[in-house]
């Protein structure tokens, strides 16, 4: 037993060191290569734009989520369960697919601008700050809704019944029930979204651009890819790292990015006022559903004809994407399992806290900073293009690890608490435990986590853009290139393929996990 615990600790230590090297190490390598420490005017503008769009996106997402969550919480209607489940979809939706859908709806020739023109109003541009914020709200509003719904869920049923029996008015309900809950969960939701938007790359790449609306992440990419100015890329990457680290530390106490998880279906309906408030709820639900569904629908409608006319490069790109997704899911799951099991086996000491902290590091890391770090390491010894896929696998696995770790840890603790002694008293070795106890007991979170990691990796458009040559693109990169070339129909077809594959792998892994879990 002692040997087994030691071996597990050593493995966990190895994983933790690798994580630290990828996140902190890459930042150090990058900072060491910066040639000057003065920011040019364009760099300052990128920094300001990054902060502005992140603040707007986080604020809008969090505020708009409040009425939507309230309406979902107190109304019952057909499709409510489906809508709540759909709220989890943008998390695994490839960003470039979302952008394509938003372009179809809000773009120059889209229905929104058509309606505005019919009313004689000026057209809305989807590029620049508008577009970046719109895309971020589309991607993150559902996350905020789910976090607030969890807040509602956490209110004890007794308190709601008490409020009802005291005959609380709507105003009193808001003051004594909803507001305290929002005060507890909203800052966290906002902080998480702010952090996610700080490191957003694909949205800025497709909808931003130009000196006025470039994020730091995009500026890093352009410095490296177009100007091949390693010194400047390094400076920007160091700045990005410092920014992420500062925001993470500042919000560490409120931020909890884990707004997924089952069980958002409370049976009781504590209060559902009629009249204009019911109408308002209906509007909130309809608007959220429309914002969520219209772009997805647009991708399907536009993509179906495009599917028949896909350029020849799409299929090899799809294969590469599937392989990258599977490899990075396997890597992330294995690493997260090692960390969770090692942590579950020991009481929370310095070792445990250290592991927990390192496992959370990637949340503060930027894919592009890691990418630049790896680029600087690889560049002198090999052609970066030749290692594009392995690097993408590694970076994607790292970025999804915190989510998997959080998913697995509580259940790993439970397994150790419930069956650790029984397994030991039966003399089960490491392999027997893994095969007969751990994998079956953790089957559900493992399946869900693997699906999450695979889908995130499948849709990722970040580090691959930094490394890939003309050949060897993944599917998201292919979609982006087709968009850049204004071949919109083909882009939509490839996007439809991409989103099907993403949701497909997610569904498949989740299903495998479910099927192997019983009792």
């Amino acid at each position: 037993m002692a040997d087994r615990a030691v071996a597990l600790r050593i493995a966990a230590l190895g994983v933790a060191l690798l994580l630290a090297a990828l996140t902190l190490g890459s930042a150090i390598i990058v900072a060491a290569r910066a040639t000057s420490w003065t920011l040019g005017p364009a760099d300052g503008a990128a920094l300001r734009f990054t902060l502005l769009q992140a603040a707007l996106s986080a604020g809008l997402s969090a505020l708009l989520a409040v009425p939507v969550a309230r309406a979902l919480m107190r109304r019952r209607f057909l499709g409510r369960g489906v809508l709540i489940r759909l709220m989890a979809a943008p998390f695994v939706l490839p960003v470039v697919v979302a952008v394509l859908g938003l372009l179809a709806v809000f773009g120059r020739a889209g229905p929104v601008n058509g309606a505005l023109a019919a009313l004689g109003l000026p057209a809305l541009s989807i590029f620049g700050l508008h577009g970046v914020v719109l895309a971020h709200v589309f991607l993150n509003l559902p996350l905020a809704v789910r976090i607030i719904l969890m807040g509602w869920q956490a209110i004890p049923a007794e308190r709601l019944r008490l409020a009802q029996s005291l005959g609380f008015s709507d105003r009193a309900m808001f003051r004594h029930i909803e507001l305290p809950m929002l005060r507890a969960v909203l800052p966290g939701a906002g902080a998480v979204i702010f952090l996610l938007c700080l490191t957003s790359f694909a949205v800025a790449l497709t909808l931003g651009g130009g000196p006025k609306s470039s994020t730091l992440e995009l500026a890093i990419f352009q410095a490296l890819r177009f100007d091949f100015d390693l010194g400047r890329a390094a400076l920007l990457a160091a700045l990005q790292f410092a920014l992420c680290a500062a925001v993470t530390v500042a919000t560490a106490r409120v931020a909890s990015p884990f707004g997924f998880g089952a069980g958002l279906d409370r049976a009781v309906l504590p209060f559902a006022p009629r009249g204009w408030r019911a109408a308002l709820d209906a509007v909130a639900i309809a608007a959220a559903a429309l914002l969520l569904l219209a772009p997805l629908l647009a991708v399907v409608v536009r993509g179906v004809p495009g599917l028949l006319d896909l350029p020849s490069g799409v299929w090899p790109a799809a294969l590469r994407s599937v392989l990258v997704a599977l490899a990075s899911a396997a890597l992330a799951v294995a690493a997260a399992l090692v960390l969770a099991l090692a942590l579950a086996a020991v009481p929370l000491g310095r070792f445990g806290r250290g592991i927990e902290m390192v496992a959370m590091l990637p949340l503060a890391a930027s894919g592009l900073v890691m990418g630049v770090g790896l680029f600087l390491v690889i560049h002198p010894v090999a052609r970066p293009e030749s290692l594009a896929l392995p690097v993408t696998v590694l970076v994607n696995a790292t970025l999804s690890l915190p989510y998997l770790f959080r998913l697995l840890l509580p259940q790993a603790r439970q397994v150790v608490a419930d069956y650790g002694r029984l397994s030991a008293s039966l003399g089960m070795g490491a392999r027997a435990r893994l095969r007969w106890v751990i994998l079956p007991r953790l089957s559900r979170p493992l399946g869900y986590g693997a699906g999450l990691a695979a889908a995130l990796s499948m849709g990722d458009l970040g580090v691959i853009a930094l490394f890939a040559g003309d050949q060897g693109a993944t599917l998201p990169l292919m979609v982006q290139r087709l968009m850049g070339a204004y071949r919109m129909e083909q882009a939509a077809g490839a996007a439809l393929l991409l989103v099907s594959l993403s949701f497909g792998v997610f569904w498949l892994f989740d299903r495998i996990g479910d099927r192997n879990a019983d009792a």
């Binding site: 039966l426 079956p440 009792a519």
Partner: protein, 232 residues
């Protein structure tokens, strides 16, 4: 012979000493107030809690440092004695081969152990499809298969009603006499001790006293036992 030689367990403020032994095939009840260390004593013998000082011997061999699975001990816990995702037969099979690679002979052994405890034909069921009493039987059947010379029971039948519990204790007695195992059983119920155990260990005030004949102990209970029983 299982020997607890000047054994001491210390955990923070808690401490427990024991200095006695149990002969093969002997049946011993362990009784005393909750929090007194009954379970701790069993966990120490099973190898889950280290001793602070003293020795723990089986037939003269020191057990300190021997992993739980390799000790001459089978243990029934308060709960979680069966893996809920494995079938009853697989749960029993783990008693013969911890990686569940069973020979055909072993498969037959599992079958006859099931028959022995009255669970014939239930091997393919999941534990959740069994009643509480049947789950206890399955755990006992596994102990039967492991055939270790010491059987530790940490109140595994506490959740059962009196009649069912008595039935289970009789089955434990039968199983133990078939395998010749010594049994140490934690209980908070004097009736269990009287029914099942020739000797009883009283655990109170930081000491696990040497086993005494059960009947005599209850006939003239010492002060600590009177306090526990609530008799004057």
């Amino acid at each position: 012979m299982l020997t607890l030689d000047a054994l001491t367990i210390r955990q923070g403020d808690f401490s427990l000493t024991a200095d006695w032994s149990v002969a093969p095939a002997e049946r011993v009840a362990i009784i005393g107030p909750s929090g007194g260390g009954k379970s701790t004593l069993l966990m120490t013998i099973a190898g889950f809690i280290p001793l602070t000082s003293g020795r723990l011997l089986w037939q003269g061999r020191d057990l300190v440092g021997v992993p739980p699975g390799q000790r001459p001990v089978s243990m029934l816990f308060q709960d979680q004695n069966l893996f809920p995702h494995l079938t009853v037969a697989q749960n029993l099979g783990l008693g013969l081969s911890s990686d569940l690679r069973l020979t055909s002979v072993q498969v037959d052994q599992v079958e006859s152990a099931l028959r022995r405890v009255g669970l014939e034909g239930m091997g393919e069921r999941k534990p959740s499809e069994l009643s509480g009493g049947q789950q206890g039987r399955a755990a006992l059947a596994r102990a039967l298969l492991r055939a270790r010379p010491v059987l530790l029971l940490d109140e595994p039948f506490a959740a059962l009603g009196p009649a069912l519990k008595a039935e289970m204790l009789d089955l434990v007695a039968e199983v133990a006499s078939e395998t010749g195992a010594a049994v140490l059983m934690v209980t908070h119920d004097p009736a269990d001790a009287r029914r099942f155990a020739d000797k009883t260990v009283l655990v109170a005030d930081g000491v696990a006293q040497a086993p005494q004949p059960t009947a005599a102990l209850f006939a003239e209970p010492p002060q600590a036992l009177r306090d526990y029983l609530g008799t004057a």
